[in-house]
Every structure is written in C-alpha cells, then in structure tokens.
C-alpha cells in the first residue's frame, strides 16, 4: 500500500517537473539571452557564448532606441494613476450593486455583463477617433482615460466578495447614522482587503501588458512619449533587431520586476481575493 502511494507520488511529481520545465524554458532563455554579448538573435545556441551586463547598461542609455528610462517612467506613471482610479471605480460599482437595492440594479448588471462579453479591441477605432476629436491622442491622459474608463465593468468578482460581507454590519452602521460613503470607507473597505488587492494588481498590470491601445494612441513616433511595450516592440524592427535583440530581452526582464514586487507583497491577499470572490457570484 505504502509503495503504491509512493509510486503515485513520484509519477505525479515527474509530470509536474516536466510541466514546470516546459513552462520555464522560455523564461530561462529570456534571462540568459539578456546577458548575451552577441547583440542580435542567436539561434545557434541556447545559452549565450559570452556573458555581459552591457545590455542592461545600454537599455538606460540616452539612445532613442533604448530610451528605457523614459518609457519605464511613463508606464509607471500611467500604471499608478490607473491603479488608483480603476480600483476606486471597480470597488464603488461593486459596492453599489451589492449593498444598495434600487430598481435598475438587475438590468444594469445584465447590461454590464453583456458589454463585458465584447472584446475591448472592438471599440478600438471609435475610441481612437473620439480621442482624436478631443485632441487627446498622443497624451498620456488619453491613454489613462482608455485604461480606466471601462474598469467599472470589471465589478463582478468584487461584487461576489462583497456579497459575503454580513449585511448586519451595514445595517448597524446605518442605524448609527453613517452615510453610504462612510459605511463604504470605514466598514466595508477594511473588511475587503483581499479583493481590493486583487483589483489593484489587475489594474496595475493593464498598462504594462497592453500594446494595442498604446500603439494606437501614442502614434507620433516621439520615443520619449512611449510606454515600455511600444518601445520594446520598436527594437524588433527589421533594421534594428540585429543590434538590439539582447537589449530587448534585458528590457523584458526589467519590466517583470515591478510586477513581481507588487505580486510578492500582495500575494497572500491575492489568493484570498480570487477564491473569496468566486465562492458566491
């Protein structure tokens, strides 16, 4: 019996190790290539022949191709604003739909779910022309607006979480004369840390991972204005890739740093957030 269990365990772990190694290979390759002394694409070896730190130094050079400092700051700025605004929107919508009873609640939630079913890129062209009419293309404000504007629609998971908060707490607060805002900020928010953390992480990630909207809105070709994703993409251009590919990999590694830090800090809330929100939807 014991040996049977042991064999099962070994098999399971072998499968897991295999899966993990498949999954890790590209990441190992990315990190290895980011230290490569050969600037172009090296398809002959998996690990670079010579190692150097120069790619990371070049990444922060004043070159217009490797203007990483400006891109990083731009993205960081947008991500921070986005993080605050989107989180507020999401949490507030979730609070309203979870705790208040009003006539249009159900229809509004249905509309929101249906709207959410459409991929965001469908609206790309119209978003572009509206922003252009308002003279907001090529501004970070316009880009932030696009990222934040629809964030209220992502309220479902947060609402699911709020539904688990005991009603009696709110009622007690109400009896004590607290306004809705006060109930929200002093009673509900402290109880909902996990879901708020989850929302913060997901809204912080949007600007780091988005390419389509950034490329479309920041189309002036001025590299100081770009976000990280456009800047890195530009390095892969035909005439540049042979001298910038390793630097591109270094950029890829650095981009993952702020996201990882945020994730590590908020990890323990994160798991609670997803599972808590998903229990009752």
């Amino acid at each position: 019996m014991k040996t049977k269990q042991l064999i099962k365990d070994i098999l399971r772990h072998v499968v897991l190790v295999l899966l993990v190694s498949f999954w890790l290979i590209p990441i190992v390759w990315l990190i290895a290539t980011s230290f490569s002394a050969y600037p172009g694409r090296n398809t002959s070896n998996f690990f670079p022949e010579q190692l150097t730190l120069n790619n990371y130094i070049a990444l922060f050079g004043s070159d217009t191709v490797a203007n990483f400092k400006a891109w990083f700051m731009n993205t960081f700025k947008i991500a921070c604003v986005c993080c605050v605004v989107s989180t507020l929107f999401t949490i507030m919508v979730a609070y309203a739909t979870s705790f208040s009873k009003f006539k249009a609640r159900k229809p509004m939630m249905n509309i929101a779910v249906i709207l959410n079913l459409f991929p965001g890129v469908l609206s790309m062209i119209s978003v572009y022309f509206i922003l252009k009419a308002l003279n907001l293309t090529n501004t970070h404000f316009g880009l932030t607006l696009v990222y934040c504007a629809s964030s209220g629609l992502g309220f479902l998971i947060a609402k699911g979480f709020f539904d688990t908060v005991p009603r009696s707490l709110c009622e007690a607060a109400k009896l004590d004369g607290a306004s809705q805002a006060r109930t929200f900020f002093t009673i509900i928010m402290p109880l909902s840390k996990p879901i708020i953390v989850y929302t913060i992480i997901s809204s912080f990630l949007t600007p780091w991972t988005d390419f389509v909207f950034a490329k479309m809105i920041l189309n002036s070709g001025i590299s100081d204005m770009w976000t990280v994703s456009i800047g890195l993409y530009n390095m892969l251009e035909r005439s540049l890739i042979n001298s910038y590919f390793s630097i591109f990999c270094a950029g890829g590694v650095i981009v993952s740093i702020p996201i990882s830090i945020l994730f590590v800090i908020m990890q323990k809330f994160y798991v609670d957030g997803i599972t808590g929100g998903a229990v009752k939807g």
Binding site: Y38, G40, R41, N42, T43, S44, T64, V65, Y128, K132, L134, N135, L136, T137, N138, T139, F141, G142, M216, L218, N219, S220, G221, I222, S223, M225, N234, E237, R238, S239, L240, N242, S243
Partner: protein
C-alpha cells in the same frame, strides 16, 4: 426631495469635471502634440504655401513633425537645427519621431492625418501612399517652392540620379524627394579564402568555398532574394493599379530563357554541398556563426561581416553569374530607393516640402552617408571622393547598374515566391524533371497574379 437635488448637483459636478479635464488636457496636448493635428493653428496649408515665398512670418509658429529611421536620429536633429537657422525670420516647432523607412507605409496609412508632415519611406511604398492621399503632389507646389528655395522641383530632381527620380515619380508627378539608394543586395566574400575571380560565377565561388572547407550562403526562401535569378534572365514583375501583380516567370523571357532553365540553375546551386540555404532573417546569425566565407546580403550586414571575418578580409562584389541553359547569366536584384515625402494631409505642406528638400539635399545626403553608409542619390554627393572610394557602395551601385530592377510588386508576390525558393532549397525539385518544375512555376505564378481580395 433633498436626495434629488443632491443627485442633480452630483451630475452637474461630474459634467463640469469632465469638461474641465478636456480643456486642460487640450492646452496640454498642443504643447506636446505629436502629430500636427492641432486645429488651433490659423495657418491653413494653402496660405502658408502661397505666401511663404515672401518669407511670410506672421509671428505664428510653424509646427512640423518629421519621421526618420532610428539610424538617422542624431544627424537629423542637427539638420533640423540648421534648418531653423536657415530661416531665422520664421519660428518653428519641429519634432522628430522615429519611424523606419521599411514600416512607414503601415504606420502612415493607419491614420494619414495623424502621421508626420515629413517622413522617410522605401520607394516600393509610393503607390499605396499616393493612393491614400498620404503624399503631397510636389509638382503642384513647385512655384511656391521655387520662391523659397530658388529651385523648382524639376531642378531638384535633376540633381539626383535617374533611377531615384523614376522611383519618386508617379503619373508624371513628383511625390517625394530621393534621399538614398543602395537598398539592394550584393556579394560579401572573405578575401582570405576566395579570390576576386572566384566570385565572378556561382560555379567558381562554390568550388572555391568547397576547397576552403567553408560555405557560400544566400537566402532562397524569400521572393526578394530569389527573384534576382529570374530578373537577371530577363523576366519581369510589375504591379497593376488595383494592386495585383503581373508575373511571367513560368514562360520564356525576353532573353529567350525559360523559367524552367532558371529554376534548374538555382537547383544546381542549391544542391551543391558548399552552398548553404539561409532562412530569411537568419543571415546575420549565420554570418556570426562562422561557417560562411561568402554571403549574399546588403549594406545592413556590413558590421556583422566585419566582426566575423575581420575588416581587412571583407571583400564586396556584384552578384555572380549563374549557369542557366548552358550559358552564364548575370544574377539580378530588386533595387530600391529611400525617399522623403510630404504628407498630403499636412497643415503646413509648403514648409514641410521646404524641410523635406533640406533633409535630402547634397550636404544632407553626405551627412547621411557618413552616419549610416547609405549611398547618396544626389549626383554631386555620389561623386564625392569618400563615396567613390567606398567599396561596398561601389558593389551596390555596380549591382544596380548590372541589372537592378525597381521593385514594383503587390502584396501577393511574397508567399508563393518564398515557397518556390523553399522547394528548391530543400531539394524537392530535381534538374531534368521539367514537368514538376513547370508545375511549381505555374502554381507560383497563379498565386502571385491572384486577384487581391
């Protein structure tokens, strides 16, 4: 009641804050607006181009955006300063953006009205850009242009080599100014392994490479490279107004060579053990890997080749001849030029054209040559000592002269021709099997000439 009033006030506040946002960001964006789309500028294009001749400076600043490739950024920044100094009476706000010549068309056509006023692009994109109204007709601006610069458009075009003028002209109108040539490919060889005589023919080259224990490489699975064999044999490829491509490679060329003979010539090269068929986009990597002693590529690989073989060993020559139906046929290539165009939707067409001229004139071309070794199209610049002494440019120019054909093909050209090259490189077609070769050629031509959906 109280609640309703509160709701109303909230709604009003929301509206107000929205407008406040948009106005503040408006002023914001005109400060750093990238794409010259600020409507506030009272100068319409016609007024500026008409009376700019008199050096009209009504005090307003002219906003211009220039797009140039990455390699040009540094010296373009300098040239733009020179341009401002040249016209001190007019105040300019010129911004420089990055856009490679190779991808300019895609970016510009996404939204021509948001694109730069002046931008560089490769000559094969001209047709599409003109069709979209993204290039201003410079011939129509000629008079205003002459008033400022003292030269008409025709005068300027006359300063450039013939091929580049043809590449910038469509239906008799000039749509762009040439800024550089040499967008073609030629032969790099390692002088320590291969002699100048060997690279005259593919046969000589391959046997010399074999003797040296190295390989000679070329990209076969790309229509841009393998089309050279057909072009050299007198075949043609051209594009119609609707974007479809004409191709006669499955027939007999003007030189009396059949397509089958060309393919057989290619097969005998590809099947030689000293030949390496390189995958498209893998050339630089293969050069660095060190197995090659000769490779067909363009000016962009100069530094890679020098690093691999040592600068003193790098030789350059026009492409070799290949054996085709018992004769030696010169391998051709597509040639292309780099052009500087003025956006047809620019608010400042007149000044944009003047700036475009300034960025492509003789001294600008010399500076560009120094910065990135791009062959000048300006006749005087191309006759300068430094340019004449450059072996690489000489090879590129010799190749163009030998049989460069201006690239003029539609989007359907690339995949079928790449497939044929791949079939040949993999040895799936055999010399003597004329039926299979003819069938492969017919399939390719059918694919290339298919209507564009």
């Amino acid at each position: 009641m109280k609640k309703k009033i509160l709701a109303f006030i909230m709604a009003a506040a929301t509206c107000f804050s929205l407008t406040a946002c948009s106005t503040s960001s408006n002023s914001d964006s005109s400060d750093n607006s990238g794409a010259g789309n600020s409507n506030s500028n009272s100068n319409s294009d016609s007024s500026s181009s008409d009376n700019s001749g008199a050096g009209s400076s009504d005090g307003s600043t002219i906003d211009l955006v220039v797009w140039g490739p990455e390699e040009d950024q540094t010296f373009l920044t300098g040239l733009i300063e020179d341009f401002k100094n040249q016209y001190p009476d007019q105040s300019f706000n010129i911004q420089l953006g990055v856009e490679s010549e190779a991808t300019a068309k895609d970016t510009v056509l996404t939204d021509p009205s948001a694109a730069a006023d002046v931008y560089a692009f490769a000559s094969d994109q001209l047709n599409d850009l003109v069709a979209a109204g993204a290039l201003a007709d410079l011939t129509a601006l000629s008079d205003a242009f002459k008033a400022i610069t003292g030269n008409s458009i025709d005068d300027i075009m006359a300063m450039n080599i013939e091929g580049s003028v043809a590449a910038a002209t469509k239906n008799g109108n000039v749509y762009a100014l040439p800024l550089g040539a040499g967008n073609n490919f030629f032969m790099y060889y390692d002088k320590s392994k291969i002699t100048e005589n060997d690279v005259m023919t593919w046969d000589g080259l391959l046997s010399a490479a074999s003797a040296a224990g190295k390989k000679a490489g070329m990209v076969f699975n790309s229509g841009w490279y393998n089309g050279g064999f057909f072009l050299g044999a007198g075949f043609t490829a051209s594009m119609n107004a609707d974007g479809t491509t004409n191709l006669d490679w499955n027939k007999t060329s003007a030189d009396g060579i059949t397509g089958v003979q060309v393919v057989e010539g290619m097969i005998s090269i590809a099947s030689n053990p000293a030949f390496m068929a390189i995958a498209d986009n893998d050339i630089s990597n293969q050069i660095a890997a060190g197995e090659l002693c000769a490779v067909v590529s363009g000016s962009w690989d100069m530094s890679t080749v020098e690093a691999a073989w040592g600068a003193e060993n790098v030789g350059v020559a026009k492409l070799p001849t290949y054996t085709c139906g018992g004769n030696q046929v010169q391998q051709g290539c597509y040639s292309g030029f780099k052009l500087m165009g003025v956006n047809g939707m620019s608010k400042q067409v007149g000044w944009a054209a003047v700036l475009a001229e300034f960025l492509t004139n003789e001294s600008a071309q010399m500076k560009r040559y120094e910065a990135r070794q791009l062959a000048p199209t300006n006749i005087k610049a191309s006759e300068a000592d430094a340019v004449m002494a450059n072996e690489m440019l000489a090879a590129s120019i010799a190749q163009d002269a030998a049989c460069g054909v201006l690239q003029d093909v539609g989007g359907k050209y690339w995949d079928p021709t790449a497939t044929l090259g791949e079939l040949i490189a993999q040895g799936q077609l055999k010399v003597g099997d004329t039926e299979a070769i003819q069938a492969a050629l017919d399939t390719m031509v059918e694919g290339v000439t298919a209507p564009v959906e």
